[in-house]
Subunit: 256 residues, 2 copies
DNA sequence: CGGTATGTTGATCTCAGTCAATCTGGGTGG
DNA sequence: CCACCCAGATTGACTGAGATCAACATACCG
């Protein structure tokens, strides 16, 4: 298994700003510096594997990581894509239930739980920040349950595109151009479908004039409004009733 | 909308033991007593609705609650069933994104977030307990993503039955008898399918000699081992490859 | 400028969603 | 205690979304 390259063990520097936005403020950064190891990964490397024992928690500094679970015969479900500022790999009884691989070049901060845990207990703000983070991930997971349980391919792809558009790093709102950092296999495994079906959905969206594919990975979003509308509608399978979707207000933040 | 009956506003008593197992220890219970309102619900009542503003967080004292999101035309996805000791309805920007209804008679502790939040900040143990709880729910949500993204009806129903068997309240291991507290509609909406298909899966499992339906709600689990095996296998749709499942170790606890 | 991995398109077949009919269990009133 | 009722459950028939298999096309790389 490919392993990440240790850039430097604690203390570390750089990307702390990004980290701080999500987790810390002020002098607490200093305390984390004594804990984290910064790792450099190339594309396609393994960060951790399911079943593996762990003592670490991971923060994404830069790049993108796919968190997934394998089922059988190479089939897998991608639980989520993690980008800068996200955390993943919370120890669960000391064992990883998910695997994580880099989708692109990435820098990841690895912190020993053994060190992080006491710091968290001693730092209520940090603990609260972690709680918010986990709660946010929890909400995200619930949204995916909705998508996977009720949405057909078009809902799924539309939702996926809209979600990706929300990440500044991937979307140039000037040009209305979206850059997908992952391939169709990843997209398919994320949406709980196969690459062919995912691709066909893109084709259909293009035929409808909602998007335009410059290359498979570079997509111009022509009609954002219509794309958003496609996020809701009749469930997968035959439609018992045809009418259009009803807008649904979705609060996104959390824990007041 | 049916509302829960206020049994008594704080201070409260009873069911504190159950609550404490999951959240608190010792004198912290006393502090919560000053915060909670105990509500008595009949079957089918609304605890809260999506889109509704909220100031409360809910703890299930007894009974069972379905947390769901409506999509359109009465379609809904049940996100999870909550039982004694679970919490639900975390405020998200002050608005509920999910709805909750009682599946059975239930007693629910309602705590104003306004009161709970300061207590949590002042009580690191309580905050950690909440973090564990949310993390556990997060894990559960991930498991559901796997089920909905990769599992066909048989996987889903098998997983559902196994999960329900893990709840002592619903499963008599002596008789190997499972009592389902919810109807087929709830089961279907939980599994992201329709009642007919869910029912057919039960029929098939019975034909295979894995379960036996005494009544639709009372099910004898004849072959637990085979039922567990059915949790994994080829994905929904046509099977690209036939062979049997590989066991997968799933740690369930969390946060060291 | 190939060569390989990735992506798209086409054809086919199956699972599961829908509609419709029938059955049943749990509850009610006589 | 029993006949009746009805929501819930099952079964059957049909159909379409989407998974698979199979070419073919294109992008990205050295």
């Amino acid at each position: 298994m490919d392993q990440g390259l240790v850039i430097h063990a604690p203390p570390f520097e750089g990307a702390v700003e990004r980290l701080s936005e999500n987790l810390l403020a002020g002098d607490q950064q200093d305390r984390l510096r004594n804990l984290a190891t910064l790792l450099q990964y190339r594309r396609g490397q393994t960060v951790y594997s399911q079943g593996e024992e762990t003592r670490y928690i991971h923060f994404i500094g830069s790049g993108i990581v796919r968190v997934f679970r394998s089922v059988e015969h190479g089939k897998r479900q991608i639980i989520s894509f993690r980008t800068a500022g996200d955390l993943c790999g919370l120890p669960e009884a000391g064992v990883h239930v998910n695997s994580a691989e880099t989708v692109s070049t990435a820098r990841i901060y690895r912190v020993a739980w053994q060190l992080f845990h006491p710091l968290m207990l001693a730092t209520p703000d940090l603990q609260l920040a972690l709680l918010r983070k986990v709660a946010a991930d929890f909400r995200q997971a619930q949204a995916r349950i909705m998508m996977l349980g009720q949405g057909n391919i078009f809902h799924r792809v539309a939702t996926f595109l809209v979600d990706m558009m929300a990440i500044t790093q991937f979307f140039d709102s000037e040009q209305s151009m979206l850059y997908l950092p992952m391939n169709r296999f990843d997209v398919a495994d994320y949406l709980g479908t196969c690459p062919e079906t995912a691709g066909r959905a893109f084709t259909k969206l293009e035929d409808m004039g909602i998007i335009r594919r410059i290359t498979p990975r570079r997509i111009e979003i022509i009609d954002t409004a219509r794309l958003r509308l496609m996020q809701r509608g009749p469930r997968r399978g035959q439609s018992r009733s045809g009418p259009p979707p009803a807008a649904l207000e979705l609060g996104v933040s959390l824990l007041g």
